[in-house]
Structures are given as structure tokens and as C-alpha cells.
Symmetry: D3
């Protein structure tokens, strides 16, 4: 159930029954030579939408531009600053909390958002003591980690990974790019610094990822695993309260 495809009275009815909502959050940033700039938003939105359908949970619009400052030396990347992303998160929650929503489950597709989301949640709780927020980065869920290790091994890497490319190519087959084998892109440091640093260390944008392994069929399987895992996590969380 998508908010954008609902009427206000349908939302009124929904709120009479439950007060949880998914907010997909991705990024608009380079994903290496063969990955789509929208990969993170595509995956987060796709997974949240499917989970929402399975259990009838409302899905708000996606935050499509996230915290990607470190990718800004690659054309097409967009980013909010952390301070702005905190403010935006707070106002989205303000809006929905004003109607009675009180459990916000952010389905996240981008590691760079995590710290800022965490900071934002503390601002949320200060303003809305009865609200609870949760971030689930789909690719970090244990069943996903297991499947990714099995399919791609060390080729998975850390950015522009074959797993996220596979899911995006499964969801939008016509957008699949023809991958080719490339040299390795080894991890230089486990910290990320400025955008200039990033481009110098990882000139084509990948970090340790063998994009030639990307495959929509594997994407379909990973997608199914992700939907199951997010759904289970959501059920546990909403029952907890």
C-alpha cells in the first residue's frame, strides 16, 4: 500500500487499525562503471514496496537523495549534507506523526545514510517521545550476507556490489548494463574521507566489487530473501511494543 496511491480517507481508515509505516531511503550516487546512479533507491524502494504488499503496511515516498558527499567527484551524484538530511527526516516524521503514525521503519539501501539517520532519530525522539524509529539496511541482514557470500564471495566488495546491481537489474531488466571484466579495485582504507580522497583511491567508483558477476537471476533470489527478512524483522519490531 503506497501513500502516493492512497486517498486521505483511506489513510484515515488505515490509522484506525495500525500506525506503522515504511520509509524507503536510498541514494542518488555513482555505482561504478556498470551500476545505475539510482541503485540504492531502486533496491530500497523495491524491497519496501514488496514487504508493504505482503503485510498491508503503508509505504511512504522514498528519500531518493541521501548522504553521498563522498561520491560527489563522480558526475551525476547528488547529496544532502548530514544537517539537511537530519532536518528532512525530522520533517517527514513530523508530518506523519501529526496524523498518528508512531512506528517508522526506514528501509535503507545506502551505508552512507546510517550515521545521519541515527543522529536524526535522536532529534525525532526529543520532539516526539512516543515515536519509535528503526533502520534496516537490507544488504546487512544475515540471510543476505550469507547469500551474497555464496554467490559472489570476495567479488562482492563494498560499493557498487554485484548484489545490489543484480537486484536493480532484476527490478528493471531494461536498465541492465552490459558488464565487462575489470581490474580489481582493492580496499585502500576502511574509512572514507573526502570526495577527492574517494576518487583518488577508487578511480572508477567501485570499492572491491566485481560488477561482472551481477546477474538479474541472482538478483531475483536476493530480492526474495530481502523481502522475507525485512518482513520478519518488521513483524518482530511491531509486536515488541
Amino acid at each position: 500500500m503506497l501513500l502516493k496511491f492512497s486517498t486521505w480517507s483511506e489513510i484515515e481508515t488505515y490509522l484506525g487499525k495500525r500506525q506503522d509505516v515504511f520509509i524507503p531511503i536510498g541514494a542518488t550516487e555513482q555505482h561504478g562503471p556498470f551500476g545505475l546512479i539510482g541503485t540504492d533507491a531502486i533496491c530500497a524502494e523495491g524491497i519496501a514496496t514488496a514487504v508493504g504488499e505482503r503485510d498491508g503496511v503503508l509505504v511512504a515516498p522514498s528519500i531518493q537523495v541521501g548522504m553521498s558527499l563522498h561520491h560527489m567527484k563522480f558526475p551525476g551524484s547528488m547529496s544532502l549534507t548530514p544537517q539537511s538530511l537530519i532536518g528532512l527526516t525530522l520533517e517527514w516524521v513530523d508530518s506523519l506523526a501529526a496524523h498518528g503514525f508512531n512506528q517508522f521503519h526506514f528501509v535503507n539501501g545506502h551505508g552512507g545514510n546510517i550515521a545521519t539517520l541515527g543522529a536524526a532519530f535522536s532529534e525525532v525522539y526529543l520532539k516526539h517521545p512516543n515515536v519509535r524509529c528503526l533502520t534496516t539496511s537490507w544488504y546487512e541482514l544475515p540471510p543476505l550476507q550469507a547469500a551474497t557470500a555464496q554467490y559472489f564471495g570476495d567479488g562482492e566488495g563494498y560499493h557498487g556490489t554485484p548484489s545490489e546491481l543484480s537486484v536493480s537489474f532484476f527490478l528493471y531488466p531494461e536498465q541492465r548494463r552490459e558488464t565487462q571484466p575489470l581490474d580489481d579495485s582493492p580496499l585502500v582504507d576502511d574509512q572514507l574521507y573526502s570526495a577527492a580522497d574517494f576518487r583518488r583511491c577508487y578511480p572508477d567508483g567501485r570499492i572491491g566489487a566485481n560488477q561482472h558477476l551481477a546477474d538479474p537471476k541472482i538478483g531475483e533470489k536476493l530480492f526474495g530473501i530481502a523481502v522475507d527478512a525485512v518482513l520478519e524483522r518488521h513483524r518482530k519490531w511491531t509486536e515488541l511494543k
Copy 2:
């Protein structure tokens, strides 16, 4: 050409040829008893995407939550404050201007965004003297106004109009709601004040709109007219410089 479906090297190539980009901006707000909460974003995104395809112009992600504070007494409405929407607009332009984009054409689906966008542009020019911005509210273009008057006459109204519902139902036929005749919803004042004022004056959310006139077939025609008109306006504007 959608940014989210591009790779960074494709954007690099695009920038070698042209530096204009569309940014669709809508709203996530009540649209009366039969209109979708996402109507404004759906229309703006749909039109901008089609225009982008016609002339090969890049289309950035849509701003789906706009300035809708006056709709906040209807469940499901979301809004940024004007100050935040200015900040978000500025950072989106910052991001793309950093790569060399310099003409930003905002295809707008929501009247409540116009003042704030205008304010934002002045902040943009202060920071980026070489950037130019343009807002086109598709429903205000003369050919649209003419067609709307012909199809809906006084039933068009001012919010939750049959024209925007028609376009949204044309673009997403499966989301079409079964409209029914309703009492008139006369315009109380030509100014809008607080959300409480709005709900008191317009209890079901419409302003003067006869939603029962909404028709996907008319939507298709309006959509075609809008795409032509936005395209023509974009061509003139980009040639001007």
C-alpha cells in the same frame, strides 16, 4: 533520460553536450475524496519524463514532498516547511551544479511550491551566479488552461481538480478511484491561511472542483498538451541563453 537509470560515465558524456536538466516537483497531500495523495508528484514526474524522452533531456529524481503545510489536517499529507524546501532545493542544485549543470527546469505540479521555489532560486543565484532556474507549473500553461476550460468549465476548481485527477488516472489506470457526484465546494477566500482554516473551509479537501468529471481519456489529451507545451517552453528557454 532518467538520472536514476544512468551510470556516472553516461552523465559525463551528457554534460559534454548539454547542461540542462529537469527536476520534477510535486507534493504528497490530500486531493479530496477521490484524488490520490501523490497526484501532484505523479503528474509532474510523468510530464517531465515524457518531455525528457522527446528531446533527450536528463530528468533528476522528483521532489515528492513539497510545501503543503495548509493540507496538514488531512491524514496522509506530508510537508516540508518553506525554509527546509529552500534548503533542499539549494542542495539539489549544489550537487548538480558541481558537475556542470547550469539550467534547472523545475516542472511543478503544486501551486503551494511556487513561492518557496521562487525564494529558493534567489539563494541559488547568490551561490551560483552562472546557474539559471525556471519553474513551469504545467497546469498554468495557456494551452492547458484553454483545454481545461473546454472540458471542465467551472467544475475545474482550484484543488483536487478533474484535470489533475484525469492525468493521474491516465498515467496509473489501476489507481483510478470510482468518483461520485458531490455537493459543490465553493471558494471561500482567494487566500489560504492555516491548515485548520483550510479544513474548516473545505471539509473534504477539494476547492471548487467537481471530481466526478475526472476521466482518464481526457487525462491522456491533457497530458499530451502538457508535454508539448513544456517541451516548447524548454526549447525556447535553453536557446535564449
Copy 3:
């Protein structure tokens, strides 16, 4: 009745009877070769003061520096950024709303303020649901447009116009500048971009205005028309509620 010339107990008495107030808002910006930098503030303050006298409406201090970023390449121009002008507007309303004022009529002398004021009002209503704001740009009122067309025709132009110069020279005759005929200053584009763009397109600051037509006697007539029209608009608006 001017706020600055009142005592606090006089305002207490006023509030026992009515809660409306005028706030004149102008600009401090170049007005071409013969126009005063304070033209917009002079006109707005003069008209609001006269209207206030006619109906006993309180007039707050003028906002003398408005949103004039696009004029900043001409010496002497001053500007707030839109974000700051929103903040200032909000705090002026906060101050007066704390005492019980609830209808704020901004008499505006500068087109560049309009978008920002509109954005500010949305912030006002969020914080003060019972407050109502109205902007009246005196030069846009239909009787003014008619009179201006009659007196100046195409020579009126868009910035540094003979009508505003005439009103300012009528109000401060000793400040009248000796105008001279100048070359035409044709409109380049109907949008305004950065300050550098503005100066390049309009090197002496005028936009399409024949300042040699400015005449204090015509100014007197325009002033009278403006006072009548603002007064009528104010009466209708305050009765509406």
C-alpha cells in the same frame, strides 16, 4: 496611527477594539539613474501611513531592506537573503501576535519580496494558526495599472518605473532628481537570475522604464489612487473574517 508614535497603553486600548495592523515593506536597492535607492520603502511606507490615518489602522515600522539580491551589483543596494527575510517576517509577526494582533497586511513596494513573503506566511500559519496575512503590492492593484498605462504607456517598464519615481518625488519633493532622456532599456528575459546577469542585461539599472516621464504631479494622483485602493482592499479583507 504609527506604532513608533504610540505608547504601550495606547496600543493596549487599540487591541481592545481591533487586531489588524499594516506592515509596510520596501527595499533598499538601485532604481536606475534617477530613482532613489529607497524608492520602494518610501512608496510603501507613504501609502500605508496614509491608509492608516484614513481608517485609524495601526502601522508598524517598515521593513526597509528586502529581498534585492539581484540588484547587488549596483552600489548602495542592500539585501536580506530569502531565508533571513522569512525569519525576520516571522519574528515581527511573533512579536505582534503575542500581543493579540491577528491580521497582518503587508503593503509592499517591491516585486522581489513577493515570493519570499509568501513562503514566510506559510511558516507564520504553522506557528500561529489564528493569524492571517495579506500582501498588497500597491503598483499591481488594477486602478494603479490602469492609471499607469494611461500616463506612461510602454514607458512604464518594469523596474525604476516612472510611476514609482513620481510617487517618491511627490512624497519628498526636495529629493526629486533632474531626469533626462535616455536610450531605451528593453526587457531581455522575463526571468531574473543572478546580480551579475542583471547588471549585464540592464547596465544602468532600469528595466524598460522611461524615467524622464516621472512627474510629482502624476505621483500625487497615483498616490491618491493607491491609498483608495489599498483602503478598500483592507476593508474587504477585515470584514471577510
Copy 4:
């Protein structure tokens, strides 16, 4: 020489010769039973204007609403918060520094502005290392203190003083209020806290001031002393550099 009564080319000429400017700053706040709400702005603007005429120094528009939060329990008082007043001061200096002004002399009529102006200047210097700012609170100048002691003795008090009322009644004789003897209004504490505290301690708004001593003739003398003293201070300061 007033900025509002200048043309941009006259300012260009001025800047070719000197780069100093006065900015009057007052307040819009209660001044006890017989004092005008605009007293502080009236005095600061009147003195700065006269000094400007004497030495041909430019005078910018007045900041009419200052930091008066502690007066907000009296109808008609207006205030910016310190953070906003810092921002406004910075943008006024930004505007004029962009044209080449580099010595900003704030002629101040209100004690409540002093701390905030001091804070603002540090922000100014961070952004504009070549700019210098000076605050002169006219009523604190030694010759004024001496004259005030002579004319009013202990009756001068601390707020709504006979000296400032006298100056304002001299400048605007038609605004003179008929004063009457009142009970003493003794100083409770030498610190000011919240607006509620202020109203509780000083119910009619005065602090220790005998407003019945106010006299436009004395006002004329004080005004003359102030103009001389500010002029002398300005000359020394501008020669120093």
C-alpha cells in the same frame, strides 16, 4: 546624506572618496506611560542623520526593531531574537561591504542591543577581515552623562528616561505626551531576566525614571551635545586607521 535618498551612482561617487557609513539602531519597545514605543529608534536615527549631515557621512536605513525580548509583556513591543539580530546585522554589513564600505559605525539608542551587536561584530570580522565596526550608544557618552546628571539627577533612571523622552519630543514636538507625576519606580536588581520578571518588577515599564521631567527644550540641548560627541568620536575613529 541618507542612503534612501541617494541614487546608485551617487553612492558610487561617495565610495570613491570614503568608505564609512552610519547605521542607526534603535528598538520598538515600551517606554513607560509617557514614552513613545519608537523612542530608541527616533533618537538614534535623529542623531545619526544630523551627524551625517555635518560631515557628509552616509547614513544607512535604521534598524528599528532590536533586541527587546525583556519588554515583550507590554503591548506594542517588538523584538528580534539575538540570533536573528546577529544574522540581520551580518547581512546588512555583507551588503554594504560588497560595495566597498569598510567602517560601520552603529549609532545605538538601546542598551539591550549592545551584547548582541558585540556578538555580531565577531561574526562580521570572521567573514570580512578588513571591516571594522563600532557601536556608540549616544546616551552613554561622557558629555551626555554629565548633562543628564545635571538636568535630571536621580530622576534619570534606567529605562524610559527623561533624557530620551526629551530628545524624542524635541525631534517630534507633535508627538509629545502630557506627562504627569508618578510614584517612584525603584531599581529592583541590576540584571534583567525574562519579560515576565520585568513586568512584575516594573509594572508600568519605567525603571527608576521620572518621566515628568521630560522637556523638549532640554531635549534640544541633549541632542546638540550628542551630535557633537558622536561626530568627534567618528572623526577620531576614522582617522585612526
Copy 5:
């Protein structure tokens, strides 16, 4: 080498040789019935100071109040909001980066700071592309985790832990509180929400910690392990560049 105990010329000399600096960051928040409110700052400052002495690395003043909004229902707790802590972190780095420092190692004593610090670093890199930041939460270092498990097992818990109490009592023996056995304080949820939620779930402030196990002698050992581990991590990091 402590910044506060240095002269400016000693810092000039230091910068001629190296550009790294430690910034201890703790918290001022409740630490259960027997823990000191300053525990996190005490540990972070103590460890950073000792490491600084070992390798001659400069240590800046400690950030003593961190992000502790969730502890605010316990008297004495203090907190910055995330937005403010980001701003403060940015200005501390601005200050030191202006002198040439470019490696900022934050020695952290409080889990609640981590997300906000991460967000702050992205703002830092945007402004200072040549700066690198690192957070080390001493209690999360593998040798610490191993030692803690050995000494305290499950009694370690998550907040107000015997390990941090032990270190603080070792560093300030005179501040040791007489602990007593208490009921278990089981972990309710692995997420933290509002301050009211926290107090309801953990009424005496501890999370799963057996404070009666705290022992200054164990504190001494943990402290030694921490100093060694932070030192090693710092050496590796500074050599990396």
C-alpha cells in the same frame, strides 16, 4: 602533551613536525546508582592523555557534554542535540585545521556519540578535503572486549558497566562509590528511543550492568590495555596516509 598546558609557540613547533591531534569526547550523563555522571568523559580524557604522553601527541580539550538525549530523565544528565554536536565538532576542527592540523583522532567514551560524530565527519570533509577524522570508542577495541568478557562476563551489560566504572575509580580513587548488589537490569530492546522510554525500561539507569563488580584494580588493567590499543591504532592510522 595537552593543548591547554601549551603556549602558542610550542604548538607552532609541534605543527612543524606533525599534524595529528587527539580530541577526547565523553558525556555528562547518569551512569546508574554507583557510576559517576562524568564517567565517559573521565575515561576518554584519561586514556587520550596517557596515549598522548606515550607518543608525544597533542591532546585537545575534551568534549565533555555529548549526545545523551536518551538519558535526560535522570537528574544531572546534560546533552547537546545531534545538530549542535555536529556544529560544535565542525568548529573545533575548523579551529585546529586553520593552524594546519589534519588528522583528528576522537577518543570516544560514549556510544551515543558515534552516529552524530559520523555525520559530523562528512560535514568536515566537505569543508576540509584534506582533513581525516577517526573515532575510537575505547571500550569497543577487541583487547578491551576480551578483557571485559574475562573479568565481568554477562555482568558487563551495556550502560553503566563495571568496566567503565572500574576505569573511572582507578583514575579518581577518591571518587569511588561504595557499590552494592542490585537486581538484574535486563536488556529490553536493542534499540533506544526517547528519554521517557529509557527511564521506563531501565529505572535506575543501568542497562544489564552489574555495578557491584566494579573494581579499581581491574580498572587499572583495563586502562593499560586501552592505552596500548589506542596507541597502536593511532600509529597505524597516521602511518597509513
Copy 6:
């Protein structure tokens, strides 16, 4: 009684009896050739702590980095901007006022903080009408001024003074620097402008101070005088209410 060395239940007990608290505020800035960068924080913290012990008043953590923008051309100086220091002050007060504290006595060691603290207090009172704040700059207290004049005469100067160096060397004897006679450092102007201006006028950082006069034994005496004077001032202030 130091907040950092208290438990939350001890603070709860304290609040049952009294609601006043000291907040020491210093600076981290150059203090000339022989003065420690932490001088202002060292003195303020030392004095506040001793006063707190004498009367059992709680002492919060010190604000160690203050408003020192004008010292930023000397290595090691750190500063918050005024806007940030206002925000930090407000959040510290917010935190403690939430627990019931209502009298905040800032013991200040740095003149550059005074204006900004004053501005901050107005923001505090707006948000917390029942809170009262007081700044005491220890070195400005009359008994200190008298003692300083006696010990150092004109050699005291205005920055990096022998009195503050003496107190810091008394409190931390091992940090005493070996002073030497230096040329005079005359006062150039009684205003301070930008950091570049400061360094140009006062190349070694002192203003008019003969640091060779610094003496820990005199420091001990000054410290005792300061503790007595602050204590007396605090008692009077807390009784006043």
C-alpha cells in the same frame, strides 16, 4: 561539588535543597609568549570549583572553548562562533533546567565571551522564563582590580596579563613557564577587530601585559581574593530572589 563526580541520585538530592549551579567558562586561546593556551579555562574552573566547595554549590563541566575568533592567527587557538556559543549555552541551560536548576552563575575567565553570553541569556529567558543567569568575570571584580593594580600597576595590561598567568601557575605549578623580560606591547586601539588585525597589532599575542611579573605566590593571593569575591557575589544573588 562537581557534577562530573556526582551520581544522578546525588543530584536529585541536591535539587531537593537548592537549584543554583556554577558553569565555568574560559577559552582555549593564545596567551602570549609565556601564558598557557588554557589560561582562561584554568582560572575560571579553578575559582568556580573552590567556591563550589566552600558553599556546597554544584559546578557543571567547564565550557573550555569560548569566543576567541580574534586570536585565531596564533597556532593552537580554538573558537566557537558567537552563534554556536549561544546555541551551546542554550542547550547546557536546557539540560539542567529540565531537571529543575534555575540559577546559572557563569564564572568567566575571558572577556571575549561576555557579549555572546549576554546575547545567549536573552535566548535563555525567552525559552525559560523562570531561569536567571549571571556572569561574573573574576578579573573584573573590584577587589581583584585593586589587588592587580597594587601588584602589577600598568604592567597588568589587557591580554595575557600577569594576574591570570600568576593564578594559572599557582594552580598548576608544574606548568609554569620561565618568563623573560620583553619589549612593551602597547594598546593600539580599544576595539578589537579581525584576527589578522589582532596579530598585526600585537605580534606576540600580549596586549600591554608584562608577563615577566607573573608569580605563583601572587597568584595564590589573587586566587583567594577571587574565591571570596565570587562567593560573596553568589550569596547575594541567590538570596535576592
